[in-house]
């Protein structure tokens, strides 16, 4: 049988063609593998690393702050933060709804935080801190559904003495974009000091944040920790503050608006730095809600304002010892020169009244300080002229910043002819000089400036730089005031308390010998026949007192400014007395140091009474955000202040 085979050659040609086509495609795939694995390999490796590695920021615990005795002013406590990894977020609305349901913040606030987090999408953002246990549990329970959320242990600032140290410690805030650009060590969302010690000593307290690199699987579950770069905790900071005195000052100032500054006049170490009313520092320990922030900013009493460094006050009669020293040094007056006070002085055809209607009679310089005779100083101012007054004020550091480490200090104003021409466009009027002579008119000082000026009066004429950390201030600069001049002025200031006619003679009853000077600076023109207690709160005079002790070898200068306090002797001086007695008196806890001091006469709400223990006020519900217990300003006054800040309502 002959077997006829098919002619397979055409078929084989087609098979060969198919083989060629498939061969080309295989070559294409091989080339693709080459490109992916060899050419683009490193890029894909990075993508794989980004897939599996999560970089968790480890916040550095901020440093502890203590006072001079080692008492804790500022510490940390553990807390839990909620981190968001924006790249993991697949459904933003769902995440937002979950966070809102958790009760972390109102919906619009959550939306704003998510917005912000998505702007730096490659980094995790802190969405909430200070989580409660139920919130931590809820996030943990839903972690399979929300890969983008992670609870993370952290620390939070804790201030045992809260509002008493609020301005001193200052606020934390999220790092600004400019700061981020300037310092690569900072991290988006990181908290940095924004004011007070927290800002001034950010480099000490801040520490260096660390990283934890963890491996996660496709479901966001942490598989292992790969690498840990531990955070470096902030270093502790020991300040010159005396927390006992600071608390005493806060208690004494409860219900008042104003500031207290206490310095060691010998080197400028700050012992007390207080501004009232204060804010609740707990609000700034974490991420502040805008609503709370606006509430604080809109508060007419401006609790965020650090009055000790930033508020400007006419010094009133507290300027008199300074001008007296200047006059003695320059020979404008001698200690023996006298002036007869009739209750008013006629200068330039204008009658300038002494605060005492009948006049003080014949007074020498020391008497004039003891009784705070205005007529004497009107006359002195007239003789000296504004430029000399200004130079005396500048001798004591007024008109320029004291150089304390905390920022935002005001320089105050020492007016003279040059200033008038420049700032006001007209020459200085001679009549204004007379007002400046008693610390009124355009002259303005800050409480801390006043503390520095008085330090120079009592430390042998040295201008110190106030500082909060030992060794920080520049060495004191001599003012060149002769010792005899200073001794005369110091004698006079001792007589303010000890003298039979002294304006602060009520402080003589204290266990501690105090010297100082009262000052009542006018807010409104004096009204005849109206006692200050009858005036509305915001028309009352500011009450000032600068005191120091021990009289022979002063170790503490205390400046007390009570805004609209009305009367220096009965309002400001007792506060200073209380602080000085706390510093130098018998150290028995709970002693009624204020027993001899009459409380402020204007109606204080119940609960704001200052003795024996200043319980936080429950009666006067403060606006949220302001530290509890501080505001006792009558509501009517508040609304008037609010009106004054809002011209359209006038």
């Amino acid at each position: 049988m002959t077997f006829v085979r098919d002619d397979l050659r055409p078929l084989q040609r087609r098979v060969a063609a198919l083989l060629a086509a498939v061969g080309v495609l295989f070559a294409l795939i091989a080339a693709r593998l080459w490109v992916l694995q060899v050419v683009q390999g490193p890029r894909w490796r990075t993508a794989a690393e980004n897939n599996r590695l999560r970089r968790l920021p480890l916040e550095a615990p901020r440093g502890m702050v203590t006072d001079i005795h080692g008492e804790v002013i500022l510490d940390n406590r553990p807390t839990y933060q909620l981190l968001l990894f924006p790249e993991e977020m697949t459904n933003r609305a769902r995440t937002a709804a979950f966070l809102t349901a958790l009760g972390i913040a109102p919906a619009e606030e959550i939306a704003a935080r998510l917005d912000k987090a998505c702007r730096t999408s490659h980094l995790p953002s802190v969405i909430a801190d200070n989580l409660t246990w139920p919130q931590v549990a809820a996030v943990a329970a839903h972690r399979a559904e929300y890969h983008e959320l992670d609870v993370h242990p952290a620390t939070r600032r804790s201030l045992p003495d809260g509002a008493a140290v609020a301005h001193l410690v200052g606020q934390l805030g999220e790092v600004s974009p400019e700061q981020l650009a300037a310092d690569p060590a900072l991290r988006s969302g990181q908290l940095v000091g924004r004011s007070g010690l927290e800002r001034a000593y950010q480099d000490v307290l801040g520490g260096t944040p660390g990283n934890l690199v963890v491996v996660v699987d496709a479901f966001g579950k942490q598989v292992s920790a790969l690498d840990e770069e531990p955070p470096v905790a902030g270093r502790p900071l020991r300040t010159t503050i005396d927390l006992n005195l600071q608390k005493e000052a806060a208690a004494a100032m409860a219900g008042q608006v104003g500031a207290v500054v206490a310095l060691d006049p010998r080197d400028g170490a700050v012992r007390v730095l207080l501004s009232q009313p204060a804010f609740d520092p707990e609000l700034f320990a974490g991420h502040l809600e805008p609503a709370k922030w606006h509430e604080l900013v809109d508060d007419p009493l401006k609790p965020l304002h650090d009055r000790a460094l930033q508020a400007l006050y006419p010094p009133g009669s507290t300027i008199k010892p300074l001008f007296a020293a200047g006059a003695l040094r320059d020979g404008v007056r001698t200690p023996a020169d006298t002036f007869f006070c009739t209750g008013a002085v006629n200068i330039y055809g204008h009658l300038y009244h002494c605060w005492k209607k009948g006049g003080h009679g014949r007074v020498a310089l020391e008497d004039a300080i003891e009784v705070s005779c205005d007529s004497f100083f009107y006359h002195l101012a007239h003789d000296a002229g504004i430029d000399r007054l200004a130079s005396w004020a500048r001798t004591f550091g007024l008109g320029s910043a004291t150089g304390i480490e905390l920022g935002g200090e005001n320089t105050g104003l020492v007016p003279d002819d040059a200033w008038s021409r420049k700032a006001r466009g007209h020459p200085w009027y001679g009549g204004e000089t007379i007002s400046v002579g008693i610390g009124q008119g355009p002259i303005l000082v800050t409480p801390i400036q006043l503390a520095v000026a008085y330090s120079a009066l009592v430390n042998g004429g040295l201008l110190v730089q106030p500082h909060l950390v030992e060794g920080r201030g520049v060495p004191p600069r001599p003012t060149g005031l002769p010792a005899a001049v200073l001794a005369t002025v110091q004698d006079a200031m001792a007589r303010v308390v000890a003298g039979s006619r002294g304006t602060a003679r009520r402080l003589a009853a204290l266990d501690v010998r105090i010297a100082g000077k009262t000052g009542t600076s006018q807010v409104m023109r004096k009204q005849e026949g109206v006692s200050w207690q009858q005036l509305p709160w915001d028309e009352r005079h500011h009450a000032l007192f600068v005191g120091y002790a021990p009289v022979g070898a002063p170790a503490l200068v205390v400046v007390v400014v009570v805004e609209h306090g009305g009367d220096a002797a009965s309002v400001a001086a007792p506060i200073a007395g209380r602080i000085l007695e706390r510093a130098f008196g018998p150290r028995t806890e709970g002693q009624a140091v204020t027993a001899s001091v009459a409380p402020a006469k204007w109606p204080a709400p119940p609960g704001a009474n200052r003795a024996p223990s200043p319980a936080p006020s429950a009666a006067a519900a403060p606006p949220a955000g302001r530290a509890p217990g501080t505001p006792v300003v009558p509501a009517a006054a508040l609304s008037r202040i609010a009106a004054a800040h809002n011209p359209t309502r006038r």
Partner: protein, 358 residues
């Protein structure tokens, strides 16, 4: 044994070794240690089947092909009734703990039937009647599989018809007509056959940024896995993409990505070379077959294997849309391994009998 093609056996063996190593890796990643061992069992069964079919006369199978074909169509049609719905499809039959995918075997029957039909046709060019019969022969099982629905397997029926038509011979005018018809079919398929998720996959392939977290996600993770293997790979069982489960469907459709990630370009090129050798030898078998039936069977088998390899690796490397086509021998699955081995056995039979006179 001497009569068998050693190169084809060597290629299959090399791929089997790679399969075990890659499957061990995914078994570790997915914490399913049994998978790699079962794959080895299937590969061993496959080896036995290769020999069994190698020493069977493929011409007998070709003669039986009408019965085999009708039986497999019957099973495919019955699938809609007897196969439980799993993962939304009637794709698998359950025998105890085993699952069998009949479409893999129906494909062999289809290739055999097509080869037998086209092989009987002795003219240089196919006539219209034969073309229509071939189209129906491939179209019916492909449609049944598509309706299960199983797009990936259905797509692998396409190259059978195209290869049969190409090898059987068509005038160039017919190819133009076929191209137009193909366009119409693709358009109809788009609007009436493809499910929204399948449409989405193709759209995502065209525009990967369309949905980075859904269907684009799989392909992106796959490209990351392959690319991050770089030249020498991350080491067996040390691929982060597979071990941390970023890779989807690791032990089936994306198994090549596991291998490429862990062995790098060196390993993936070697594996691709093994596949190239396998397909090349199948073409050689087609060229040396003693008759038209054998040549067309081998040609169609080469086209199917080539398509599976090229589309799967293309999908893994981002050159083709995700279609769910498995990689022969490497992907996990008894049906897939056994079916591939049966085809390889038949091919060995064609090679063994290439000089046979009767």
């Amino acid at each position: 044994m001497r009569k068998l093609d050693p190169w084809l056996l060597l290629a299959a063996l090399a791929i089997s070794v790679g399969s075990y190593l890659a499957q061990s890796s995914t078994a570790k990643a997915l914490a399913t240690p049994g998978f790699a061992n079962r794959q080895i069992v299937w590969l061993a069964v496959g080896g036995v089947l290769i020999l069994l079919f190698a020493f069977t006369d493929y011409r007998v199978l070709a003669r039986l092909s009408p019965f085999l074909y009708v039986a497999s169509i019957g099973v495919l049609a019955a699938m809609f009734v007897i196969a439980p719905v799993r993962a939304g499809t009637h794709r698998w039959l359950l025998f105890g703990s085993f699952t069998v995918q009949p479409s893999d075997f129906a494909r062999i029957a289809t290739i055999l039937a097509v080869a037998a039909l086209a092989g009987e046709h002795r003219n240089d060019l196919l006539d219209l009647r034969t073309v229509a019969r071939l189209a129906a022969m491939v179209g019916v099982p492909a449609l049944l599989v598509l309706l299960q629905p199983d797009l990936g397997t259905a797509v692998t029926f396409g190259p059978i018809l195209l290869a049969a038509l190409w090898l059987g011979g068509l005038p160039w005018r017919a190819w133009v007509g076929l191209a137009l018809a193909g366009l119409v079919v693709v358009a109809c398929a788009w609007f009436w056959v493809l499910r929204p998720y399948q449409q989405e996959r193709i759209l995502t392939f065209v525009d990967p940024d369309r949905a980075p977290y859904s269907s684009g996600y799989q392909q992106r993770q796959s490209k990351i896995a392959v690319g991050s293997g770089e030249v020498t790979g991350k080491g067996l069982q040390s691929g982060t993409q597979s071990q941390l489960r970023f890779l989807p469907a690791q032990y089936t459709d994306f198994i090549f990505a596991v291998w490429a990630e862990e062995t790098g370009f060196v390993g993936s090129a070697l594996l691709l070379a093994a596949y190239a050798l396998m397909v090349y030898r199948v073409f050689v078998i087609a060229l040396s077959a003693r008759d038209r039936v054998g040549a067309i069977f081998a040609g169609c088998a080469a086209a199917v294997l080539g398509t599976q390899i090229l589309v799967n690796v293309g999908m893994v490397t981002g050159l083709a849309p995700t279609t769910g086509i498995t990689l022969p021998l490497l992907s996990y699955g008894g049906s897939s391994v056994v079916a591939t081995c049966i085809v390889l056995g038949i091919l060995q039979s064609i090679w063994r009998l290439r000089y046979a006179n009767i």
